[in-house]
Subunit: 197 residues, 2 copies
């Protein structure tokens, strides 16, 4: 696969992302995706087996982009965990508010029947080795930096607050406020950090 091919795939991804926002999965025809990407329908089928396959690949593409961004340069060792925790949380919010097009797609994806397929696919391969939020939180517990509670609670408090905040920014068409962001990350950190007895 040459440079040209990668460009085409990229164009298809961007076109799909843009259209999905307004019309949803089944509301966006392949013909429109092709039109917006300035290629013909047939070409899409040269790169993807089906519409479903396109969506699944698009999800992997978005997730990799997000994770690569928020964990860039993060090591998460004992001495810097608090700092890294706050960086990662703020990056998560920042990335999603900066690129709402990715957020809205992933949000739709997670709430759709596709998510179940992804879940199944993932259990088969048992993790891909790269850093993700779950492993970052688990790591925090092992390093004695986070409350020794269930991963469910940790994840709910970490991701839930962030996602909900991002939604209020994007859907409320507001801009992000750094002071507010700092206030929130403190709130999340305080509620999850290990209390020193």
């Amino acid at each position: 696969m040459n440079v040209q091919s990668t460009d085409k795939k990229e164009a298809i991804f961007q076109s799909t992302l843009a259209l999905l926002q307004d019309y949803g999965f089944h509301g966006t025809p392949m013909s429109q995706i092709a039109q917006q990407a300035k290629i013909s329908v047939g070409t899409i089928y040269h790169y993807f087996d089906s519409k479903e396959a396109l969506i699944m690949e698009l999800f992997a593409y978005c997730k990799a982009k997000l994770m690569g961004h928020i964990f860039n340069g993060i090591i998460a060792d004992k001495d810097h965990y608090e700092r890294d925790f706050k960086i990662v949380w703020k990056r998560f919010v920042q990335f999603n508010t900066d690129f709402p097009i990715y957020f809205r797609f992933m949000n739709q994806f997670y709430s759709s029947p596709f998510h179940e397929m992804e879940r199944v696919r993932k259990q088969q391969q048992c993790g891909d080795g790269s850093m993700n939020i779950q492993s970052f939180l688990t790591c925090g517990v092992q390093l004695n930096q986070l409350k020794d509670t269930s991963l469910q609670i940790l994840n709910a408090a970490f991701t839930g607050v962030a996602v909900s905040y991002v939604k209020s920014i994007i859907f409320g068409k507001a801009t992000i406020d750094q002071a507010q962001l700092d206030e929130m990350v403190e709130l999340v950190w305080k509620s999850l950090k290990k209390e020193i007895l």
Copy 2:
């Protein structure tokens, strides 16, 4: 509209809810909705103008059911705010884990282009007078019980954590743990309550 009619609408709602889980909006044909509700396609169009109208009404139906349940008997006065806060939060989680069919639909709805329509529709009518989470939180600030911070933050911490926790229960096919629920509501309350100086 007689009792029969209400039953039919109810049947259509339940049938739609059940099918939407697995196949999504455009993936569930009117014909299947009719089949599962044991009526004919034409009958659906006797009660609803279109498929879109059906979805919008279904959303209002679900939301009313949820809100009616979680705010049942709640007054939210100064002396009982903490107690009511915890009751409301736990009811929110409990209702959604008890009836995942409603949760999954609303979750899909909020992440879809329909949400934008709902948002527009709502701005026109400027609130419906009944108790909802936003007014409950605003009330808490006015009563000097909650942190005097933005509604965005309050809502993100209240709803975000709850929704995220419900998801982990439903999608993780786990059962709800009362001790964990208590732990979480304390965590949410502590992070939002007004600190006494």
